[in-house]
Amino acid sequence: MRLTLHVWRQAGPAAPGRFERYEMPDADEHMSFLEMLDVLNGRLIEQGKEPIAFEHDCREGICGTCGMVINGRPHGPVKQVTACQLHMRSFRDGDQIWLEPWRSRAFPVLKDLVVDRSALDRIIQAGGYISIRTGATPDANAVPVPKRHADRAMDAAACIGCGACVAACPNASAMLFTAAKIAHLGYLPQGQPERFGRVLAMVQRMDAEGFGSCTNHGSCEAACPKGVSLDFIARLNRDLIRATFGKGMEAESAAGGAA
């Protein structure tokens, strides 16, 4: 198939960016989207031009490294599929394809389609963990976990940290990312002792990193390649209210169930 690509090119964080047009006369429908870019880059190199910088690694949809806005949608047109798992059979002969980096104040562009997402790591540093020492844990079966709680925790933990939720959000909020980690740990008995302190610290960090506020727009859930649910944001808000108005902190010291 013949495609025309319009790719955001930007030499560095401070440099101005612009779209450049590339013709791709012979894309194969069995290629992955990134393989199509590999082929294009190979040709650019042979022509003595600078290839397009884009991030990728596992190409199996799990590492969260890849990510670009394809025709206005983070990770492209197919629901719950990362850019690396997208295949050219999702496009038609003659298509125009526009490629842009994640756009958010908290994700500065490093080069072309590569952005700096270290703000997400700093949100985790604020409290996205359970504070235990290596080797200090009881037997793994000492604390039973209701299957439905374990399953919900896993649903939330499926987040790959790619940042598509931020790119999709009109406010560039990182609420879905933050909420997923809070829900993952909050559903489990092991996560109870720090539950309410965690939500305060992580939300505060998220705000400090320059992410916007959540206005329940819902684009994040639609763009999430792992289908992480908006329900977790509601859960975060409930925990945040309990934490802010004190009751949660009392509950935290009691380290109760995962309600």
Binding site: M31, I45, D57, R59, I62, Q85, V114, D121, Q125, P144
Partner: protein, 637 residues
């Protein structure tokens, strides 16, 4: 160079206890005087960095990714083994140890494997405490499944994303230590060399992948947790950036490289679809629990799968191995698949796969059960191939997946360079010539959480350290060499892209040093690889410049190392004139086509010493002694 395995005396079940007592301790308030460099942030690196930071050491952790959470451990699907015996089905530390030594075809060091089986139980406790959402039963306790070649259910899992969840557990522990200031994280920073001062590993040379700046970091010890080298084949299930550079540069500074020819070709991957293919995708072998593998009985049969009647299907693994059937170990399953495809029974448009069929399980268990067990894998398969495995069988074929070989380490995980430790897939120690399913995650976390934190203290406590700073000549030399190499790669300005050379190298290795190896083929490869390497340095084109985010330059350095390393791999394969595990020398097989070991001549670890750019590497042998697992022919019939 001498190889001292430093295995403690005494009965095997007491060795680790004895070692932990004999290893010197460091006073808690003195730990902060020691600085440790951890390279890599996968399961081994993140768990080691987090634990060492927690103990009070000052830790610097390096990754070439934008975040430590991206490491390739995250892609592991199936699970992690542990000798918990929660299923009451006869498992024990000894059985896990026994299975791992036997599964590795008797080419691993017994004492290391026993320790691995011992600490496996602690890993599960640790991960549950961290909030890893393992699969559970309705009573709230942990679920298990049987996995690749095991007759007990000892595998813990988190849907098809076990590696992701374990890595996130370790990553979160690491981020906590970063927040506490115990660990300094260096993302987007690639290690290019080890700095050896007075015979001790004292630092690393790195390149900042954003600015291109080359610089040094110093410490009292260095731990390489840099994964395996399966990408030497170009097409593998590894993530695109996985490479041999860290271990290869350490080799060139004096660390012995052990058993480089021991590579694992995983039986269940999606077959290659076209010439532009950039990587191969693994389908978890947990699928073999409910899927049946078959090919058309008649060679060249090109009817659609569902049109082939039962009587004309050959369920060859069930036929060859009645007791293990579709769960036969990876090396055996892969070789049989190759045999079927080579014999003209291949399926799919390219005739390059075999079927993995869920029809019978779907009938027996129903679609909801299959969807709960494998839903994400089925979706992934459909997304990649455009075919629906609920209605037509999957097509699979073996692909390079894991490398058992790696830098040689002693019982304490120290390489032949004092102060240089090697953890996880980057070392050679636990899997022999074939790794069992769900054992890689176990080893990475065992090394990082429960082995290195004990053993490194002994070295730090008993070693005298001179002070080193940026002006030590060894660091300046290493930095200059790294910078020169970068300059040379950019200066070639030839006609071919890096990838074309990498693919060419991969093709040679896949044919001559893949699932079947022969003396003649390996000798051909040993002529071909230097030729490709010579052409690489004459005709590669690396665009851009050194002081920039330059992904082609990163790749070029890694491929240059693969072009050297591939030769050592073939040399090792040629030297080992026996078949064992994933290393199948066609000259050495039984009448019915099974691997034939030669314990008389090859019950040893082959550790190669670098002797210079123009001289042949020197082979050292560590004899393997089997006191607890009797040397026997592996049989899965």
């Amino acid at each position: 160079m001498e190889l001292h395995s430093r295995v403690p005396d005494g009965p095997i079940e007491q060795k680790w206890d004895k070692a932990r007592f004999d290893l010197k301790l460091i006073n808690p308030s003195n730990k902060r005087k020691f600085e440790i460099i951890v390279v890599g942030s996968g399961l081994a690196g993140a768990s080691a960095a987090a634990t060492l930071g927690e103990l009070g050491y000052r830790v610097k952790c390096f990754t070439y990714h934008d975040s430590p959470r991206r490491a390739h451990s995250i892609s592991a699907q199936g699970g992690i083994n542990a000798s918990k015996n929660y299923q009451n089905d006869g498992d024990s530390v000894f059985r896990l140890f026994y299975d791992t030594v036997k599964g590795g075809d008797f080419r691993a060091r017994e004492a290391n494997v026993y320790r691995l089986a011992q600490v496996s139980a602690n890993i599960i406790d640790q991960c549950v405490g961290q909030g890893v959402p393992f699969a559970r039963e309705y009573g709230g306790l942990l679920a298990n499944r049987s996995f690749g070649g095991a007759q007990v259910s000892r595998t813990f899992y988190a849907r098809g994303q076990t590696g992701q969840q374990l890595l996130l557990g370790a990553y979160q522990a690491l981020e906590r230590q970063i927040a506490l200031g115990a660990v300094t994280m260096y993302p987007r920073t690639e290690m290019l060399d080890v700095i050896v001062v007075n015979g001790q590993a004292r630092g690393i040379v790195v390149r900042d992948l954003v600015t291109g700046a080359i610089g040094s970091h110093f410490g009292h010890a260095v731990a390489l947790c840099t994964g395996g080298y399966a990408n030497v084949f170009f097409l593998s299930t590894n993530a695109k950036a996985c490479n041999v550079t860290a271990t290869w540069r350490a080799y060139k500074r004096g660390a012995a490289f052990a058993n480089p020819c021991f590579t694992q070709i995983h039986p269940t991957c999606i077959p290659q679809a076209g010439a532009y293919q950039s990587k191969l995708t693994l389908m978890s072998e947990s699928l073999r629990n409910d899927g049946r593998i078959w090919v058309p009985a008649r060679a060249g049969d090109s009817r659609p799968a569902n049109d082939i009647p039962e009587a004309e299907r050959d369920y060859y693994l069930e036929r060859f191995y009645p007791s293990y059937g579709n769960l036969a170990p990876r090396d055996v399953s892969s070789r049989r698949a190759k045999e079927m495809v080579d014999g003209g029974h291949g399926v799919g448009a390219e005739k390059n796969g075999v079927y993995l069929d869920f029809r019978d399980s779907l009938q027996r268990l129903g679609k909801p059960v299959i969807a709960e067990r494998y839903g994400n894998l089925f979706d992934m398969y459909k997304q990649i191939t455009g075919e629906d495995p609920y209605t037509v069988p999957m097509r699979i074929y073996p692909a390079p997946h894991y490398t058992m070989g790696g830098l040689w380490v002693d019982y304490n995980l120290m390489s032949t360079i004092p102060g240089l430790y090697v953890l996880g897939e980057a070392n050679f120690s636990d899997h022999g010539a074939n790794r069992l399913g769900a054992s890689a995650l176990m080893q990475g976390l065992a090394d990082g959480y429960f082995v290195l934190p004990y053993t490194i203290g002994d070295y730090l406590a008993s070693t005298r350290f001179a002070s080193v700073a940026a002006d030590v000549p060894e660091a300046q030399t290493a930095e200059r060499e790294a910078a020169d190499r970068t300059k040379r790669l950019l200066a070639v300005n030839g006609k071919r892209t890096v990838d074309t050379f990498h693919r060419e190298l991969g093709r040679v290795l896949w044919h001559e040093c893949g699932m079947g190896r022969t003396e003649a083929g390996l000798k051909r490869a040993l002529v071909e690889i230097p030729r490709i390497r010579e052409e690489y340095w004459r005709d590669v084109r690396v665009p851009g410049n050194a002081a920039d985010l330059n992904q082609e330059l990163e790749k070029a350095g890694r491929v240059a190392d693969f072009l050297e390393f591939g030769e050592l791999m073939c040399l090792d394969a040629l030297d080992r004139n026996e078949s064992c595990g994933g290393h199948f020398r066609e000259e050495s097989q039984t009448a019915d086509g099974e691997a034939k070991r030669d314990d008389e001549r090859y019950a040893h670890v082959s550790a190669w010493e670098y002797t210079g750019p123009t001289s042949a590497p020197r082979l050292h042998k560590e004899p393997l002694v089997f006191e607890y697992v009797k040397l026997a022919t592996r049989s899965y019939k």
